[in-house]
């Protein structure tokens, strides 16, 4: 059960952290329409995360006490387990520490500027589209249902970020310089999207074959970059660690802001 729980968290944490990153643009977008676009997309990611965390919490609550005490290192979570609380979606989002998160490093990278935001979104959206397509065939009906629901939304996301990559790449000299820089700096985080962890290999049939998604993703990226007059980086050394809880310092800043209220005022509601 632990592997299934962790597999779901890899997926859920990707959508929560990217959703949180995108929502940082709320009220700061370059134009109102794009501000709204980003918050809409962020909301879709958050909705997907909620569906997944709700399921993950049910699985967690069904595990025996020893297993439950070994799932997360966070003191706040450990205390709840010890006191016999049932976990819920909010606990998973707000009470775990950075090393309990299993999202890929790509989604935690900062917004930096519009080009970085667009490049990060596109590199992830292209992956997410094929990931969700594959997850629709999961032997786990609940996960397949969440995937088929989110796939419709991810299709819009990919369309939005593809258009922006093309606009910036095939735009002005400045927009091109910026998107090239953003892609160069984010590229080392794309390898991790397709590497399977021990958790991923344990959940055969329930999860996806990550390596099989890579050629599909590469083809999509090549197609859009070609249209955008951008080159696909080659021979880049790839970073990894996010899926097993080794994160860049960036995640700490995301969590500090996102979790502040629940940590400072436990169980507060509004």
């Amino acid at each position: 059960m632990k592997n299934k729980l962790f597999y779901i968290l890899e997926w859920a944490d990707n959508t929560l952290i990217l959703g949180q990153r995108l929502s940082e643009w709320c009220g700061h977008g370059p134009v109102l329409e794009q501000d709204i676009a980003l918050t809409n997309i962020a909301l879709d990611h958050l909705g997907c995360a909620r569906n997944l965390y709700t399921y993950a919490a049910e699985i967690f609550n069904g595990m025996d006490a020893v297993d439950r005490s070994e799932c997360f290192a966070s003191v706040a979570f450990q205390r709840n387990v010890k006191e016999g609380h049932q976990a819920d979606e909010d606990d998973l989002a707000f009470l775990r520490d950075a090393w309990d998160f299993r999202n890929v490093l790509l989604v935690e990278q900062p917004n930096t500027d519009w080009a970085y935001t667009v490049a990060r979104a596109f590199l992830f959206d292209a992956f997410n589209y094929y990931y969700l397509t594959a997850m629709c065939n999961s032997v786990d009906e609940r996960l397949a249902g969440i995937a088929s629901k989110s796939l419709k939304e991810a299709t819009y996301h990919l369309r939005w970020s593809s258009e922006w990559v093309i606009r910036l790449g095939d735009g002005t000299e400045e927009s091109k310089t910026r998107i090239v820089e953003a892609i160069a700096n984010l590229w080392p985080f794309t390898g991790e999207l397709f590497t399977a962890t021990e958790v991923d290999t344990f959940v055969e049939g329930l999860g996806v074959d990550f390596a099989a998604l890579k050629p599909l993703w590469e083809q999509k990226v090549a197609e859009i970059f070609d249209e955008a007059t951008l080159e696909v980086p080659t021979g880049v050394w790839m970073q990894s660690g996010g899926k097993t809880g080794t994160h860049s310092e960036n995640l700490g800043f995301v969590l500090a802001e996102m979790q502040f209220m629940q940590r400072a005022y436990p169980n507060m509601e509004w």
Binding site: E33, I36, D44, L46, I146, S148, K149, L151, W160, I166
Partner: protein
């Protein structure tokens, strides 16, 4: 208590963002299950969310509870079912008419027909009927809508996206 009776009563529950649309018009009631416990009526209303993160779903669930509270049920459950995912193809024709009268252009395309990059739906202006309109943003004030403007009457309007 019959299933049809309950579904008819739930027509009073509307979308908080678009109050002219009932949850029946939107096609989000999947099923209604009725059974007896100790001779008393129990009910499970199965609904499907429009978008994954749509905040209106909580308000809609409360609306359903309020209607059912006046109908003497011993137990009321509201269950979410995601699969198959909601689509605008489920919206009723009368729902589309109501949307248009309210000033929102209804969905015009079947959800399976996708759009290419930089392609946009040719939507008629709900105010003057002109076909000379343009997309301002694919994303609007709620997940389900995009923003257009009419080049004939110069008015901006919302379009309920094909989904």
């Amino acid at each position: 208590m019959t299933k049809e009776g309950v579904i008819a009563a739930l027509e009073q529950v509307t979308d908080p963002e678009i109050p002219v649309l009932s949850i029946g018009d939107l096609g989000i009631i999947r099923d209604v299950e009725l059974w007896l416990e100790d001779g008393k009526d129990c009910i499970n209303v199965i609904i499907t969310p429009t978008y994954s993160g749509c905040p209106a779903m909580n308000v809609i669930a409360t609306g359903i509870r309020m209607v059912l509270a006046g109908m003497n049920f011993k137990r009321v459950d509201i269950t979410e079912r995601l699969d198959p995912p909601w689509t605008t193809d489920l919206m009723t024709e009368s729902g589309k008419e109501k949307l248009k009268a309210y000033g929102i252009a209804p969905p015009i395309r079947k959800s399976k027909v996708g759009l290419g990059l930089f392609e946009e739906d040719a939507v008629d202006c709900p105010r003057c009927g002109s076909q000379d309109t343009e997309l301002v943003s694919g994303f609007g004030p709620t997940s389900c809508k995009s923003l257009y403007k009419c080049r004939s009457c110069k008015e901006p309007f919302e379009h309920f996206k094909c989904h």
